[in-house]
Subunit: 240 residues, 2 copies
DNA sequence: CGATCGTTTGACAAGGGTCAAAATGCGTGG
DNA sequence: CCACGCATTTTGACCCTTGTCAAACGATCG
């Protein structure tokens, strides 16, 4: 029921994602595709944005994953959110903005600039919805950390990640690449890597997932959605 | 070191807060003060915004507290954030927006409309910074829930709440009103009310707080800030 | 003066953390 | 093709923080 079928996509993740968020004009789409050709590479672990520093420019992630993270005084890390292909970096509507969090490349990433949008154009609307989605996922993350146990957190996060990747055209049904370590998963879900490992074992035992070679398959998504009461993101009444 | 001294304020919390976020023109300030006179009351527990419903209008909270909350399938509640006097409700930059969360009046509240802002005016900038601050506090909440223990969560949340109230002119130094039950605190901090109670006892025993008749005093803020590595919010390089 | 809501306390259980070590996988160089 | 070194995953034993359940206590209000 939360299933959405998308047409085959042969464009990059940025134009794919944004044109699914808002219907764009031909010109807007080609501006995005044009931007996607201007690729900038960064190596794994590179700091893409530094906490507290001025935000230079708006970029989008085209491939690889990044993460917004915060380091505590005692060295612990909390990953606020993962940045997936098609997501925007540094989009913000006030002047001289400072980055709220560090953004780190999880593996080798490719980025591109984000085309400038005229006020109240389709592009501007797409960016605004993208920001609204980000807020939605923040709310979901707070709820996960505050009220779900380890097993439920994992399920809920997997469902959310599948949904986000699917929006950018990067999930084949219920199967997708999961290019992060269990330790990063732990820092995302507010757990330890040992416990993440045990939780994944339990989910395998229960026949919910298959995880091999960095590819995960959700074997019974309907059941998973039932377990956590998962609802897919909706930010505008003309979504879908 | 995180201390900021503000002049005495004799305006409402909305104009106080926004004019501390951005320097506003005389006209902008009086537009805010004008708006603050158009007061709308709502009783305790009234739903001010319903999750998933279209957002009608932009309002600001003038007195009383509200909370953004999410209810899970099993009836558990997570409070995403508290809405304090001077905060904005329903400010959002895309079309036909849907509320991401329910907002509930915690006690009797008074609201007012939010004046319309010209593009790139001081007011527009103030609203944008207000939204950026909200994002900052979301990040802080995620970090609290993911990586701090009960004692640290309580400290960190108290420091943040004091800072937010002070910005609206509603904290007398390290003392402020705390008009919520321990159960609400529990739903905010991802704990149970029993454990919140024990945590508060421990903090009293340690001489960190005094809590009587809904008024809390932070007895050693410097020490509290040290314990969690608290940093006050900064969203723009021309803050302060 | 009950009734109701919120706070406080106690005994016990359980989920998840900690520490340590073994097993597995993988890229690099010989 | 094998061997080495490093990162990551997996497992076990034990412990601590927080949750659960239940009851007592206190305050406020018609």
């Amino acid at each position: 029921m939360n299933t959405v079928q998308y047409p085959a996509m042969n464009t990059g993740p940025l134009s794919t994602r944004l044109s699914r968020l808002v219907s764009l004009t031909r010109e807007e789409k080609s501006a995005l595709e044009e931007a996607e050709r201007d690729q900038r590479r960064a190596p794994s672990r590179r700091e893409l944005v530094a906490e507290g520093q001025p935000i230079r420019d708006r970029r989008a992630l085209l491939s690889g994953w990044a993460c917004r993270q915060r380091i505590l005084i005692d060295g612990q890390r909390q990953i606020i959110s993962l940045v997936l292909p098609g997501d925007l970096l540094g989009v913000c509507s006030h002047s001289s903005p400072l980055a709220a969090t560090t953004i780190l490349a999880v593996n080798e990433v490719v980025m591109c600039p984000v085309p400038h949008a005229q006020a109240s154009s389709g592009l501007a609307e797409a960016y605004a919805r993208s920001v609204a989605l980000e807020e939605h996922y923040f709310v979901a993350q707070i709820t996960r950390l505050g009220r779900l146990n380890a097993y439920e957190r994992m399920i809920d996060w997997l469902l959310e990640t599948r949904e986000r990747l699917a929006l950018a055209g990067l999930a084949a049904g219920d199967r997708f690449a999961l290019p992060i370590t269990q330790e990063m998963l732990a820092d995302t879900l507010g757990l330890t890597s040992v416990h993440v490992n045990r939780t994944l074992q339990a989910m395998r035992r229960d026949g919910l997932i298959q995880l091999r070679g960095g590819i995960i398959t959700l074997l019974d998504r309907a059941q998973m959605e039932r377990l956590t009461g998962y609802k897919s993101a909706r930010v505008s009444s003309d979504d879908r």
